[in-house]
Amino acid sequence: MKKMNKFFAILLCIGMLASIISACAGGNNNETTGASSNAQGGQQQEGGSDGPQPLKIHYLTSKLLSDGAVQTIMDLAEQYKQQVNPNFELEVESISDRPAYLQKIKILASANELPDWFDADPEPFFEGIAEKGLVVNIDDVYKEIGVTDKFFKVSIDYPRLDDGSLYLMTWNANAEYFWYNKELFEQAGVSAPTTFDEFLAISETLKSKGITPISVHGKDFWPLLRYMAFIPFRMEGNDYLDKLRKGEAKMADPAGMKAAEFIQKLGQNYFNEGWSNADYNTSLELFLSGKTAMYYIGTWQVKDMIDENMNLKENFGYFKMPQYSASDKTKVSDFFANSGIGTAIRQDAYNEEMKNFLQFLFDNYADTALYKYHVIPSVQPTIKDDLSQIYKDMLKDISEVETYTKVWDVRLDPETNESIGRESTNLALGLSTPEEFAKRMDDAIAQNAPKYFK
C-alpha cells in the first residue's frame, strides 16, 4: 500500500509539473486559428466577376489601439470600405505590452501561424522569418504602388535588414528627445545641456534642490539601453554596436566601459525612486505631473507635450542627444531617429486586393496622420503654413539625420538581449560593477552571437 502511495504521489507531482509546461505552449491556439482562417477567407472567395474581391485582414499590433498611427490606419480602412470595397474588413488586435507581444509573435512564428499583418522590428529573429520567405518583400510592394520616394529616409532605411532588404512597412518617423520641465529647470537655475558632462552636472544640481532629475521606467529594458547607447554612439558611431553584437568589439572596450559607468551613475543617483519596477505610464506621468525634471522619449509621445493647436506646451522644452567630447565621431544632428516598429505582411496573405488597399492607404496616410491624429507619418506630409513650429522643427530634425543611432535591443540577438536587459538593471542598481557587467556581457555575446550572425 505504501508503495502504491508513493507511486501516486510521484504521478501527481509529474502531473502538476506538466501543467506548467503545457500551459506555456497551449494558450495561443484560439487566436491563431482565427487568423489563419481569415487568411483563407481572403483567398478562397474567388467568385463574383465584377467589383473588388472581398478582403479581410487580421492585423496583430504591438501599438495601442489609441495610437495615432493605428487610428489613422483604421480610419482609412473605414474610408476604403465605404468608398471602394464594401467587402473589406480590417480587424486590429492590440497587445500593447511589448514583451508579451514579442513573445506571442515568436510562438506564432514557431507554430507557423502568423497573422496576416504583424508588427516587428528588423532584429535577428525577424531576419530568420524573412529568410524563410514567410513575409512579403516591401521594397517590391512600395515600387508597385509607387510610394518609395515619398518616404522619409529614416522610415525606409531603419527597418532594412543587414543585407539591405526590406520586409517591413512603417508608419512613423520618430525623433527621440530629452524633454524637460522648464519650471523645475528655472527653480534649480539650470538650462538645457549640450554635452553629457553638463547633463550630469545639471542632474546633480537638480538633485541637490530636491528635484528628481530623470524619469525612467525599468519594466521594459529599452529605456535603459537607450542611455547605454548614447556615449558609444557619440564616441564611435554605430560601428561599436555593429562589432559588439558579433563579438568583434568588447563591452570592456573604452566605449562600453564609459557607457556602463554612465548608467551606473545615473541609476544610483538621478533616476526616479523605484524606477526598476516602474512601467511606461508611471514614468510618463511622473514627468507630465512635474515630479521629475527630464524624460527621454520619442515623438510618438508628443501628443502629451502639445496643446490643442499642436504647439509645445509652455512648461515643456526639449533638447537633442548631447555631445560627449570634442572628438565625437557623430554630429549633433545625428541622434536616435527611427520609424517605430514596422509591420510585416505574411506572404500567403498578400494578393491583388491587398495591394489596392495599400495603394489607397499610403496615398492618404501622411496628411491624415499628421493633421487629424497629430503623429509624424513615415510618408512625407504636405507642410501647410499654419503647421505649428514644433512640428516644423521635428520634421526638419528628422529629415536632417544622416546617421541615425541604431537601437541596441533591436540589433543584439534575442538571448544577449535578455541578458543585457537583466545585467544593465543590475549595473544601474549598483549590484554589479562596470567590470563585472562587461565581463558578463562579453561572455553572453561570445556564447550567443555565433548562432545568429554567421
Binding site: 502531473g15 509546461i21 524563410k132 538581449n417 537583466r422
Partner: protein, 292 residues
C-alpha cells in the same frame, strides 16, 4: 491474489491512463527530446547532445534562480503551513461567525494571481505612493519608506510572502476539514482525562491529522518548486535576477530568448528536481512514521 493478474482492472484504468499518458508523459518526453537540440523556433534544429545541460552548470542566472527557488520553497512552505494551521485552529476553536470568517480567510484564494499581484504592486509602490509607504509616512516611520519592489534584497521575500498569502487558505481548509473529521468521542475522552486546550492540540489533534499534514507538505513543496505566476507578474523575476525562479527563467529562455532547447532542458531539470525532492520527503516521512 489472483486479482493482480486479471485484465479487467486494467481495462477500467485504461481511459484515464491514456489521457494521462498523452497530456503528461508524452510532453515530458517531447521536452526531453527538444532539450537535446538547439532550436530558435523558425530555423533548423541542430542536435547538440547534452550541451544544454552542461550549460546550466555555468549559467549564473540559472544557478541564482535555483537558489532563489529553494528559498522560495523553504520559506513559502513554512509560512503557508504556519498560517494555514493557525487559521484552522482559530476556526475550530470559535463557534460564532465561523462561516463568515472562513469566507474572509478564503478570499485571497479565489482572486486571480494577476489581480493579487497588481494589488500588491500598487500597495508597495513608492512613486506614486502606495498604501504601505503612505501608512509608514503617516505613522512617522519615514525612514522605512522604500521602493520595495525595486530593492533586490527584498523582492524574493516579498514574492514568497505574496504567493503564500494567496495560497495559505487552501491549507487552512484542508487542516480545518481534517480537524472536523476527528471523532468527537476522542476529544471528549481526552477532556474527561483532564486534557486542557493546548494539550488537546499537542497530544490529540495534531498527531491525528499527521497523515494529512504530510500530504500538504508534499503539495506545498511541489507547488512552490514550480512557482511561477506571482513572481512573474509582480516583479518579472527582477530587478536583475533577484526574484527569478527556475520556472520563470525557463519561460524567459524559451519564449523571450527563443532558445527552445535550453528552455526544455530547464523544464526537464525541474521535473527531475521535483521528483527527487518529493521522493526524499516521502522517504523522511515514512521513516518518521515507522519510528512513531
Amino acid at each position: 491474489m489472483t486479482s493482480n493478474k486479471r485484465i479487467e482492472p486494467w481495462l477500467f484504468v485504461l481511459p484515464a491512463l491514456l489521457v494521462f499518458l498523452f497530456t503528461v508523459i508524452v510532453p515530458i518526453i517531447w521536452s526531453f527530446t527538444y532539450s537535446l537540440y538547439e532550436w530558435n523556433g523558425i530555423g533548423d534544429k541542430r542536435f547538440i547532445g547534452i550541451d544544454n545541460y552542461t550549460r546550466m552548470l555555468t549559467d549564473n542566472v540559472f544557478i541564482t534562480s535555483f537558489k532563489n527557488n529553494l528559498i522560495f520553497t523553504g520559506l513559502g512552505t513554512v509560512v503557508q503551513i504556519v498560517i494555514g494551521m493557525t487559521m484552522a485552529v482559530i476556526l475550530t476553536s470559535i463557534t460564532k461567525f465561523r462561516n463568515f470568517i472562513k469566507v474572509i480567510y478564503f478570499i485571497p484564494c479565489v482572486i486571480s494571481s494577476m489581480a493579487i499581484s497588481q494589488i500588491f504592486s500598487k500597495m508597495l509602490s513608492i512613486n506614486p505612493e502606495g498604501v504601505v509607504n503612505a501608512t509608514l509616512g503617516a505613522v512617522g516611520l519615514d525612514s522605512l519608506k522604500a521602493a520595495f519592489l525595486s530593492d533586490p534584497n527584498l523582492t524574493l521575500i516579498i514574492v514568497t510572502l505574496v504567493d503564500a498569502y494567496k495560497f495559505c487558505a487552501i491549507y487552512m481548509v484542508i487542516y480545518y476539514a481534517a480537524f472536523l473529521a476527528i471523532s468527537n468521542d476522542i476529544i471528549e475522552a481526552s477532556v474527561i482525562d483532564g486534557c486542557n486546550w493546548w494539550q488537546q492540540y499537542i497530544y490529540m489533534r495534531f498527531p491525528l491529522i499527521k497523515g494529512i499534514f504530510f500530504i500538504t507538505v508534499v503539495m506545498l513543496v511541489s507547488g512552490t518548486l514550480k512557482g511561477f505566476d506571482v513572481p512573474y507578474i509582480l516583479t518579472n523575476g527582477g530587478p536583475g535576477a533577484s526574484s527569478e525562479l527556475v520556472s520563470t527563467y525557463m519561460y524567459k529562455v524559451a519564449f523571450n530568448s527563443v532558445n527552445y532547447g535550453y528552455g526544455s532542458a530547464i523544464a526537464v531539470f525541474l521535473v527531475i528536481e521535483c521528483l527527487l525532492i518529493v521522493t526524499l520527503i516521502r522517504k523522511l516521512i515514512s521513516k518518521v512514521d515507522v519510528e512513531a
